[in-house]
């Protein structure tokens, strides 16, 4: 079963078409890069896949469940259960520690919180020793690792990362993409990474390129 199946997806804001007839799929545990210049519709596609925007035309299925056609609450529920999201700068809830962020994310996703799982994931990402520190004391790289942990703690079928490395230096960018790939693979989570960061383009083979001559390639 595909973790993500997008078929004939089109979207427009008013009379301006942003996405036209997009079709691709990501199998369970597979990875894909979403490429394209600014304004090519990467963010719109992510918002549609994650159910933040309602689908106008075409279909989206996440782990076999229809995101397209679902009402607002149903989309929120599907996102909560099946999708993890990592943003470039919006990483964690600022008032909580890393541990409390993961606790909250796991409870929202699964209805329960398992401290041992949180500790194991923080261990894997190498930030367990910073789990209870105030967020302002963490480095950019540590924050991005924590954001990956926050997105993966609910064991989602699909992890969507929107520009996860743009704000990081070379070492941290390489580290972050490695951790994303390793951790997602360990959990059997599929990965969709939207980026225009050339440093990570050669790390993931499958690509979907958006733009004037966009073609789906999976």
């Amino acid at each position: 079963m595909a973790s993500l199946d997008v078929n004939g997806l089109s979207h427009a804001f008013g009379s301006e078409a942003v996405l036209k007839d997009i079709t691709f799929r990501i199998d369970q545990g597979a990875h894909m890069l979403l490429l394209g210049p600014s304004g090519s519709g990467k963010s719109t596609l992510i918002n549609l896949i994650t159910g933040i925007l309602p689908c106008q035309s075409g279909t989206i299925h996440v782990a076999g469940e229809a995101m397209s056609g679902a009402r607002g609450r149903q989309r929120d529920d599907l996102r909560r259960r099946r999708i993890g999201v990592v943003f470039q700068s919006l990483r964690l809830v600022s008032a909580l520690t890393v541990r409390r962020n993961l606790h909250l994310a796991q409870r929202l996703a699964t209805g329960t919180s398992v401290p041992e799982q949180i500790d194991a994931l923080l261990d894997r990402l190498g930030i367990r020793h910073r789990a209870d520190a105030p967020l302002r004391q963490l480095s950019q790289g540590q924050l991005q690792r924590a954001a990956i942990a926050r997105a993966l703690i609910g064991r989602p079928a699909l992890l969507v990362a929107d520009e996860p490395t743009s704000a990081l230096d070379d070492a941290n960018a390489a580290d972050t993409i490695d951790l994303l790939l390793e951790t997602a693979q360990a959990q059997g989570t599929s990965l969709l990474v939207a980026t225009h960061d050339r440093r990570i383009m050669d790390r993931i083979g499958h690509r979907l390129i958006l733009g004037e001559d966009a073609r789906a390639a999976a």
């Binding site: 994650t50 996102r79 999201v85 700068s89 964690l92 008032a95 409390r100 909250l104 994310a105 929202l108």
Partner: protein, 401 residues
């Protein structure tokens, strides 16, 4: 989840939270203190003057006469001849006349020379011991006994002075010690704070017997007379007769008490207005804090929504933060008010002398707390609604970067 986030955000902005709590606590403290004072002062004044229709004493301020003779709060206006007692007892329309001899105190607690009938005015009952009978005998009000640590059989030496400033620490009557013959049960009246003895004892302490041959001492003096009418005719004739035909004055407690309360009322109304203004400022401060916080946390709140929090949960987080801030402020203010009144009434202040009870709760306090918490909730409603109705994609567009 909602509670954890609300408290986390309160901790994150601890200074703003403390400022809002302090503003609301201040307003609630002011309002509750005024409520307690206005409710209990009126009630206490009324309770202390029950059964007393008229007070007769030396000429001077009628309010001073009432305050000194009934509420034991001010200095007496002077003395009047003992013969006035018998004259008034014979007057038509008079049911009861109780004489008072004031002027001494023991460690700030007034000594009142009177007759046992004085205690019946306040329905005072003896908890232990017997009523004063011989010279030097005295009974102690419950609160005075507790504060002074006196028990039945103990002896003490009183002194000149009325308590407020000299506290009975003037020249002491060392030759005439008092013996405690009884402790009274609490009455909730002025009697709780008094040391009560016979008029003969007061005279003896002041050497009036020793100067019986003296012409001036032939008619010993007393301080005031508490009069109860037999019928309405007394109320019409007696005050007029005393004020016009004698060197004494007659003051009506009901009139003087009302005058005092109306004078106090102006100040209380002004202070109450100030208290509500403070509550409004506290509410506005929460509003501004919450509005700014909601804008600053737009990214956080958007992330929460992405993580699966519902609109209602995000809305509830903001509402709970505003409401809990107001609740902490209100409860802090409530406790502060009672602590301040307890502190004030632990000494010899006018409020203490009136017998204000600091830990007696008034139903109006719950209403003040509810209104202030309501203000907190209302001010959180606008920013909460703004987030509730915001478009998630737009919020993310602004924040996700």
């Amino acid at each position: 989840m909602i509670a954890e986030l609300a408290f986390a955000y309160m901790r994150e902005r601890v200074l703003a939270t403390l400022l809002n709590v302090a503003l609301l606590a201040l307003s609630v403290a002011a309002l509750v203190m005024l409520l307690i004072a206005s409710a209990q002062i009126g009630e206490r004044l009324e309770r202390n003057s029950q059964g007393i229709d008229l007070v007769v004493g030396a000429k001077g301020s009628p309010l001073q006469l009432i305050l000194s003779s009934i509420y034991q709060m001010d200095r007496p206006t002077g003395n009047i001849p003992l013969s006035s007692l018998q004259s008034l007892r014979r007057a038509p329309g008079v049911a009861r006349v109780i004489p008072l001899a004031l002027g001494d105190a023991f460690r700030g607690y007034r000594i009142v020379g009177t007759e046992p009938g004085y205690l019946s005015l306040y329905k005072a009952e003896i908890a232990a011991g017997r009523m004063f009978a011989g010279e030097g005998d005295c009974v102690i009000g419950a609160e005075a006994a507790r504060a002074l640590g006196l028990t039945v059989g103990q002896r003490f030496i009183g002194g000149h002075g009325m308590g407020e400033d000299d506290g009975g620490l003037g020249a002491e009557h060392e030759a005439n010690p008092f013996t405690v013959t009884a402790i009274l049960k609490p009455t909730g009246t002025v009697a709780d704070r008094l040391i009560i003895t016979s008029i003969d004892t007061i005279w003896h302490m002041h050497g009036i017997e020793a100067s019986q041959d003296n012409a001036a001492a032939a008619d010993p003096e007393i301080t005031a007379l508490l009069v109860t009418y037999r019928n309405a005719a007394g109320a019409v004739r007696l005050p007029l007769m005393i004020n016009r035909q004698t060197n004494m004055q007659a003051a009506v407690p009901a009139i003087e008490t009302n005058r005092l309360l109306s004078l106090l009322g102006v100040g209380i109304d002004g202070a109450r207005l100030f208290g509500w203004l403070l509550a409004l400022i506290g509410g506005l401060s929460i509003f501004v804090t919450m509005l700014n916080a909601a804008s600053a946390r737009e990214g956080d709140l958007a992330l929460l929504r992405v993580m699966g929090a519902t609109r209602a949960q995000v809305f509830g987080t903001i509402m709970l933060e505003g409401t809990v801030t107001a609740l902490i402020g209100a409860v802090t203010g409530l406790l502060t008010a009672h602590l301040v009144i307890a502190q004030i009434t632990s000494g010899q202040s006018p409020l203490a002398q009136l017998g204000i009870e600091p830990w007696r709760w008034n139903g109006g306090e719950a209403a003040i707390v509810a209104i202030v918490v309501g203000i907190g909730a209302m001010t959180a409603l606008v920013p909460a609604m703004r987030i509730f109705t915001a478009n998630l994609a737009t919020m993310l567009g602004k924040s996700a970067g």
